[in-house]
Symmetry: C2
């Protein structure tokens, strides 16, 4: 049943909201362009424009009548689920906009637009010092933001809450405590197994970029019949998804000289995000609850697709021929399956396997928390990064590009985002279990998509993570993913 908005105040809200929506819509395009096609010199003026519009959006949002409408709607006791969702999301934005000075919002936007381009150059030239002053300012402003937004225990909590409603450092810490030893245990069994080999030859196999790009297109065409019509893919320095509407949702992927799994799994990962936006109920478009809700749910979608589809045997079987064409040599399903599911400590989070992935996140969490709570210094980051890599994964990046500079998130101003990847991954395993218990097999893509739509996507941001789980009669339970990993990798590595 299509959700409808009946409450009079909500209807007025939705009508007025089209304006801030439109501003987000066009700045969304400007951000997408910044990562994909913008000539490099454009960054400065782009930042100026986006900064102006950020504070304009804030001003429009804080319009007295609009704020009153929100509070009036808040007091209503007969709101439907979607109406309640609208109020919840608007109250969250309101909190943000009411507490942050417009000059701060504007400065932050200007800073991060420029920093994204500086980061890209710094990463390309392995020059941490080039990026350091921007990174420093970004963390300073995030610290300041936490003060504006207020918090009970740690300033980092205020930042986490931006990406996942109500998430605290304590939650994240207890989650990591729960998974750390079991993961170490699995990793140790793998690395001590007889089948463990440090480098599988396929990682180093060069590929034809054009041909791999055709494979990526073919994957998306298989997954989504609207590919090209309401969904497209481009290339960027770091894969990402952005959605302006369910009629225009976009992902990016990337290409390197070798290691085709990195490109293919990025495509599949981002598709998981995109699908969440593409399958949102059309009736929710242009409203505050258009598109995906919490970041943990979002990452649970992307990581579900990446891990359970992209790394699955039947996905690999389906595209084996295409992979062969791209690398120009004969491959077996077993070769590619072993390669796609190889567990081994490595430098880059985005190409990490399902077991070591979370150590990458723990490292980032500790660094972010350390800087925000005070104690860690930006200039020491490369060294801290490398020593934590040594501690968690026993390896040391050769360059900062493969170390502290690898992720785009900080340059875009996001501090507190990373934990949602691990939490999302663990939740993703729970969705897989639900789907499989429901009777669907991984590989029945159309049916799986329908299931995800009905249970998650169509609601847009109507529900919080907690409410969505309750609605689906579920509880967040890290043991599901741990059991899955233990079982899967015991089979692969024979322990």
């Amino acid at each position: 049943m299509t959700p409808v908005f009946k409450n009079k105040k909500i209807k007025e809200i939705i009508e007025y909201y089209k304006l801030p929506w439109a501003l987000s819509y066009v700045t969304g395009i400007a951000h997408w362009d910044l990562e994909t096609y913008m000539p490099s010199n454009g960054a400065g003026m782009r930042g100026e424009a986006l900064a102006k519009i950020s504070s304009l959006r804030q001003k429009i949002f804080l319009d007295k009548n609009f704020v009153n409408l929100i509070h009036q709607a808040e007091r209503s006791k007969t709101l439907s689920d979607v109406e309640g969702g609208v109020v919840r999301i608007l109250l969250r934005s309101l909190k943000y906009y009411e507490k942050l000075p417009p000059s701060f919002v504007e400065e932050f936007e200007k800073l991060t637009s420029t920093a994204t381009v500086v980061w890209r150059n710094a990463k390309d030239t392995n020059d941490f010092k080039l990026f350091a002053p921007y990174l420093s300012k970004i963390f300073d402003m995030n610290r300041q933001m936490a003060e504006y937004l207020s918090y009970t225990k740690s300033p980092y909590d205020a930042l986490l809450d931006q990406y996942e409603e109500g998430l605290t450092s304590k939650d994240v810490e207890s989650f990591f405590t729960e998974i750390k030893d079991p993961l170490k245990n699995i990793l140790s069994q793998i690395t001590h197994s007889k089948k463990y080999s440090k480098v599988l030859p396929l990682e180093n196999a060069k590929y034809d970029k054009e041909k791999l790009s055709e494979v990526n297109d073919k994957i998306l065409k298989l997954f989504w019949s609207g590919f090209g019509k309401n969904f497209r893919m481009d290339i960027s320095a770091h894969p990402f998804t952005t959605s302006f509407a369910n009629t225009d949702t976009r992902i990016t992927t990337w290409y390197h000289d070798r290691d085709f799994a990195r490109s293919v799994l990025a495509t599949v990962h981002e598709f998981g995000h995109a699908l969440y936006d593409l399958q949102c109920d059309p009736a929710l478009q242009m409203t505050p609850i258009q598109g995906g809700s919490s970041l943990v749910i979002h990452e649970s979608q992307s990581r579900f697709w990446e891990n359970f589809v992209g790394r699955s045997r039947n996905f690999i079987e389906y595209f084996l021929n295409d992979f062969q064409k791209a690398v120009g040599r004969k491959l077996s399903v077993e070769d590619v399956y072993a390669y796609f599911n190889k567990v081994s400590p490595s430098m880059l989070r985005v190409e990490a396997d399902e077991v070591t992935y979370h150590f990458h996140i723990m490292l980032r969490f500790e660094i972010e928390k350390g800087i925000i709570e005070g104690g860690l210094k930006i200039k020491d980051l490369p060294e801290i990064w490398n020593s934590k890599m040594k501690e968690y994964l026993g390896i040391t990046p050769k360059t900062d590009s493969d170390g502290v500079l690898q992720d785009i998130h900080w340059s875009g101003g996001s501090v507190g985002y990373f934990p949602t990847y691990s939490l999302g991954t663990f939740l993703g395993a729970q969705w897989e279990k639900e789907i499989v218990d429901y009777g669907l097999a991984i590989g029945e893509y159309g049916k799986m998509e329908k299931w995800l739509k009905d249970h998650i996507h169509k609601y847009g941001s109507t529900y919080t993570l907690q409410d969505l789980l309750t609605k689906n009669k579920m509880k967040f339970d890290p043991s599901v993913n741990l059991n899955y990993l233990r079982k899967k990798y015991a089979k692969i590595y024979g322990f």
Copy 2:
């Protein structure tokens, strides 16, 4: 000398103007994206967003304090040239915004965003009826716009003025009267000459799209060292230029199966537009006089590059090898020169030669004027178009895609734009004469660009066409182009 803004009111104006500038900046990106990368289904919501922002920009522009500031500055008697330019441009916008109801502005934006995509589909499928209702509405709204803007003689004058300050139907008519017979005369001498051949084989030569795309890149790299840094090129259904800033200016080109001149000359043409924006004084960025002034000046730049550079012997010599690679056969400079400068009635304005081009414009002018003043009906357009093609050029389009559907302008809402192409072309010939008289040869691209910068580009929109001509001690004089055409084509066709 870098222009400076000293007047206190002007300084306040420029500070406030950053906000409407920012809105134009991001909507500019959204429009560029709409023509280049947007998935087709995105059009509807794109239109909604752009419509909202159009009327928001209007509201911000009509802010009482801002309007007062403009009027206060207008009364100042000590304005410098750039300050006067700022006031002039703002008064023009003000007139537009004060007279058009916000709902009209919003509706027009929504209509044209959608119509652009419908037009593209209609053109692709040769389906005029698909586009007709949109075209009808666009002309109706243009007619209504003329009423809002007011006019003395013809409603079409109000529309012409939008693209060229002060231009009237009478001006255009007397210009066409002046050039029509001499052009017919030249054309007749050509078509009756012994060398006239109806089809030169190169038009039909297929080319390798990838390789021609490399040639286009090479051309732009030769012309502009900042290619890739502050300037880029993409592909679209109809070539265009857009500039968000001198740090981010973009053109598009196009590719067809055959006729490589069409792609190359489009690239060169659009470069001429882009250069005007790229060489605008940096101090004018983010102000109302950022970028090119009148459309006639703009087209004088693009047509100058297209006709005097792109069709020149030394340009062809320089790229001969690359053209050969693209078409995969040996060519001589004479072959390509004859092909690039072939005069022959043809269906498409954008691939028309220097002589027949203006008949394409006369046809459009008569049609636009006829519809706006009443008398012509949208449903009859294909027939009217074809009969006028017969009358002026003796040929009849086989499809509406090659006829009434060929241009993007109407779908984007532009009525009254076309005459600036002819006027601009004639002015372009005058710039060429100035440049050559100054001692520069076509082919000394860097020096030519410097000349164009110093005499035209750096001023941005500071001056009207008339003032710019006066500043350069020039008068608009159609005989310059007529003489050039007569001389050039007498030599080529031997009459």
